[in-house]
């Protein structure tokens, strides 16, 4: 008796793995991979809630409309990559392995997106990412769509604003020692040189998770810069601007993720902070206003850039399914031929060969009552 | 007489202010059973721990077979030919009886790490196991070879410690109160084993409280008190020695 149950017990375990993603054919499903556990999970929840909200709105209208006019329920399959390449690989393989998933979104962290690109490419499944690293769209993958503007778009706007409108000459650059911080710094320094012939007076990097920024702030003040351009994530940015103010820094603080998470952390220190973003909820155009109100009503707080990225991505997929039906090849072919698609964030160009389909960006400045005013817009 | 197998000269050890050993000297002749007795706290265990290198001495010489091993690590002292048992039993409780003895033979394994990996140690392992079984048979534990050493009754654990110490093929075997907590029949069994060991050419230093047994078994006896030698000689000389009696029984009061 004992031998049989052990054998069956183990084989069943392994076989269950093979047929894990068995699923009813009925609903139309799309996938989402985000960071839900471990450090770096701060954007993860915001991404999932926005994507799920978009899916719920579609289901409220009866589900996904197919070309033949019928409607099928819409389902979002969420997986967690914990911001680690090997976990990301198994998460994305899980999505791509499930034949009922016609398209998927994510990852957000470039360090997970880059090594797992080949999985989506081999399966020919449309993949929408919010990662910023340049190389993601430089290696000729045909299935990737970047649903947000990247450093190149933002840094141009920021450099022009700081040098032209604010007339600043002595800039100091600080950046987080991760992919996001590193690529932001490389692009900003390059564009500052090309567009304005300037070099940063001093450059400093800090580790993700650092808690005390007195030393970084001290070095910046000592070098006499009148603008500190910080490239990194919200927690470290908030702590840095607080220490700069505490130590009596009177210059301008520019930051490339000055969204509502940053605002909630920095509170009064956010006043006067300037920052490029792919999108901000106070963007004056009607679509942004409508989205902002609906989001406020639903979640009782401001949406961040990631909210609109994934909201637009879900709706773009739904529109495409409406035209060519829920099949990976058809969707990919259709999207690659679609020149423009108007989203909340701006006008997307899915047919862009590299996959960089949107360049809309804004530069904001937090006024006295900590509302991000839009000081320059690019589409 | 031949030069002594073990020659310990002015061995001192103090823990902070407390002097445990103050210039102890002992000579053990090879092929004999040398007794070491003394009241509680006289420094007997410290003596064994310093000689075997478990505790480094402050000063002094420990010469075994012409080689001074004072202050060296226990495994080097063991390699020089000194093996020991422990007052409060330090067997490898999680390992089998046989494995405990095999550990003793570690230095005489006859094969290194390399050959262990390439299957060439099979023959050496068999030989080592036979020797171990032989030693277990000598102390009457052969039938317990596969048992976990922690599960053996107290008396048998004592015997296992002796077998394990012998497995290191020592010249000198130091026994730290091997008879403690034993009934007379068990004592006689151990004494018989000790005699067989000496007959096979292994010298024994017996640290023991059971003075009656020490007197009957040992060829020479040294007596320690408060970390100093107070007497050395044959059992008869020791019995008559005034200082020894005082150390044990206290001064004789002259009743007026």
């Amino acid at each position: 008796m004992k031998r049989r149950n052990f054998l069956s017990y183990l084989t069943a375990g392994l076989l269950a793995l093979a047929y894990l993603p068995a699923s009813a054919q009925e609903p139309v499903r799309i996938g989402l991979d985000a960071v839900l556990t471990g450090p770096g999970a701060n954007n993860g929840e915001r991404i999932r809630e926005a994507a799920q909200w978009a899916v719920d709105l579609i289901n409220e209208k009866g589900g996904v409309a197919l070309p033949d006019g019928s409607k099928r329920p819409f389902e979002l399959v969420v997986v967690d990559d914990q911001a680690k390449p090997d976990v990301g690989l198994s998460a994305i393989r899980r999505l791509v392995g499930d034949k009922s998933i016609v398209a998927f979104m994510g990852p957000d962290w470039s360090s997970v997106t880059y090594p797992t690109l080949f999985v989506g490419a081999e399966a020919g499944i449309p993949q929408f990412t919010s990662s910023v690293a340049q190389r993601i769209t430089q290696e000729g993958h045909k299935h990737i769509f970047r649903a947000r503007s990247t450093d190149t778009d933002w840094m141009g706007a920021l450099a022009d604003y700081l040098v032209k409108q604010e007339g600043k000459k002595k800039l100091g650059v600080t950046y987080a020692n991760n992919e996001f911080g590193r690529s932001g710094r490389d692009v900003f320094v390059r564009i500052l040189k090309e567009a304005h012939g300037l070099d940063p007076v001093v450059e400093l990097s800090y580790a993700v998770g650092d808690k005390d920024f007195t030393s970084v702030a001290g070095r910046m003040i000592q070098s006499g810069v009148d603008v500190v351009v910080n490239l990194g994530n919200q927690p470290e940015g908030a702590l840095l601007v607080k220490d700069l103010n505490n130590l009596g820094f009177t210059g301008l603080f520019a930051f490339n993720s000055a969204d509502s998470i940053f605002l909630d952390l920095a509170k009064s220190n956010a006043e006067g902070v300037v920052g490029p973003l792919s999108w901000v909820h106070t963007k004056p155009d009607d679509k942004s206003k409508a989205f902002n109100e609906a989001f406020q009503k639903r979640f009782k707080r401001d949406p961040i850039g990631h909210s609109v990225i994934y909201f637009d991505a879900v709706n773009m997929i739904v529109d495409a399914i409406g035209k060519v039906g829920p099949s990976r090849e058809a969707l990919l072919k259709y999207l690659k031929s679609l020149d423009t698609w108007a989203g909340v964030q701006g006008t997307y160009h899915p047919s862009a060969p590299t996959g960089d389909m949107i360049h809309a960006s804004v530069v904001i400045r937090y006024n006295k009552d900590l509302v991000p005013e839009v000081v320059s817009v690019r589409d | 007489m031949t030069t002594p197998l073990l020659h310990v000269a002015d061995l001192t050890k103090n823990f902070g202010g407390l002097t445990a050993l103050a210039g102890v000297h002992i000579e053990v002749r090879s092929g004999t059973i040398h007794g070491l007795i003394g009241p509680n706290g006289s420094g007997k265990s410290t003596f064994i721990n310093t000689v075997t290198g478990v505790i480094p001495p402050n000063s002094g010489q420990i010469v075994i077979d012409g080689r001074n091993v004072a202050g060296l690590r226990p495994n080097i002292v063991n390699a020089a030919g000194i093996a020991r048992t422990f007052q409060n039993l330090r067997l490898f409780k999680a390992m089998s009886v046989l494995d405990n003895v095999l550990i003793g033979e570690h230095r005489h394994m006859g094969y290194g790490l390399g050959s262990a990996l390439t299957m060439r140690n099979g023959e050496a392992e068999r030989h080592v196991k036979d020797v171990a079984m032989g030693l277990l048979a000598d102390v009457g534990l052969a039938h317990r070879a596969e048992a976990i050493s922690g599960s053996l009754p107290y008396g048998e654990q004592r015997l296992l410690e002796i077998a394990r110490a012998l497995a290191t093929q020592p010249k000198l075997l130091m026994l730290d109160e091997p008879l403690a907590g034993m009934n007379p029949t068990e004592m006689d069994r151990v004494v018989a084993i000790l005699r067989r060991i000496v007959a096979r050419g292994v010298t024994i230093l017996l640290v023991e409280h059971a003075v009656r047994v020490v007197m009957s078994v040992c060829d020479r006896i040294s007596v320690l008190n408060f970390g100093r030698n107070i007497a050395e000689g044959s059992p008869q000389e020791i019995q008559g020695n005034e200082d020894v009696v005082v150390a044990y029984l206290g001064r004789r009061r002259h009743v007026a």
Binding site: P39, A41, N42, T214, G218, Q222, L247 | -
Partner: protein
């Protein structure tokens, strides 16, 4: 600039010191290395956040609660999870506390999400400038409370019966049992006290940095190192070790490079263990 770095380093250092103190207390009484000590800090932070920010209760009410709840969690931890494995092999005990760390940190994430929250300073107002050094008011609060707590704990352990029981158990559990001390209850109370101290550290630290579910493990490792540098087992050592780590972190960040801050903390640990393994303040019970 040196003093500026040192003073702000002391503020964070105090928090490491308090966590290290609680850590060492558990080691002394129950010889358990508690990997979940950092999570008690996080619990206090979130309790304070909910009561003060969301519910808007006044500080004088929120602070005691924010210290009491981790203490209760500490007591419950000992009763449910630690007591059964007290005598077991060290590896089993370490694994149980690692499991506890996973449970507590993930529970916090499920309830409060992954993103960081800010916590208003305990005392409003611009930072003071003393002798040219800018000292945020919160740092003064932290330093003051640590001094008060250190003195209070010293008083508690020397004078009160609970303190004596705690010391007896930490010196020798078996003999304490023979002397009629309810060892299990004392250890549970020791856990509660050390979790409470971690709670105080949490409440003090929240305004300086931020509140987030993922803070537990990084804080633990820093205070583990602080405890060892100070001389594992000695309370004063834990306090000084914590301050040292806080100040060192800043100085290295400024004078050498902010890349190698963390590497230096680890190198200091290894240096101390090589040169003075018993730590700066050899352990005296």
């Amino acid at each position: 600039m040196f003093f500026q770095l040192a003073t702000s380093g002391i503020a964070t250092g105090c928090a490491y010191a308090l966590i290290a103190l609680g850590f060492v207390m558990i080691w002394n009484t129950a010889s358990v290395v508690n990997f979940a000590q950092g999570e008690f800090v996080v619990i206090a932070m979130f309790v304070a956040l909910t009561c003060h920010v969301t519910l808007g209760w006044p500080l004088w009410l929120v602070l005691p609660i924010a210290v009491l709840i981790p203490a209760l969690v500490g007591y419950a931890t000992e009763r449910v999870v630690i007591r059964p494995v007290i005598g077991a092999a060290e590896m089993t005990v370490v694994t149980v506390t690692i499991g506890l760390q996973i449970v507590l940190s993930d529970a916090a994430k499920i309830i409060y999400g992954g993103q960081p929250y800010s916590f208003p300073p305990l005392i409003e107002g611009r930072p003071l400038s003393i002798l040219g050094i800018v000292v945020p008011r919160q740092s003064l609060v932290v330093i003051a409370s640590m001094v008060v707590l250190a003195v209070g704990l010293h008083f508690l352990s020397q004078k009160t019966s609970f303190g004596k029981r705690l010391r007896a158990v930490s010196q020798d559990r078996e003999t304490a049992k023979l002397m009629g001390i309810d060892v299990n209850r004392t250890i549970a109370e020791g856990f509660a006290l050390s979790a409470g101290i971690a709670g105080v550290a949490g409440v003090l630290l929240a305004p300086i940095i931020y509140v987030s579910a993922g803070l537990g493990l990084p804080l633990l490792i820093k205070s583990f190192i602080a405890a060892i540098i100070g001389g594992f087992g000695s309370y004063i050592g834990a306090l000084i070790g914590g301050l040292l780590i806080g100040v060192l972190d800043n100085l290295v960040g400024f004078y050498i490079s902010s890349h190698y801050r963390e590497v230096f903390t680890f190198l200091v640990l290894i240096l101390v263990l090589l040169v003075r393994p018993q730590g700066l303040f050899p352990h005296h019970r």
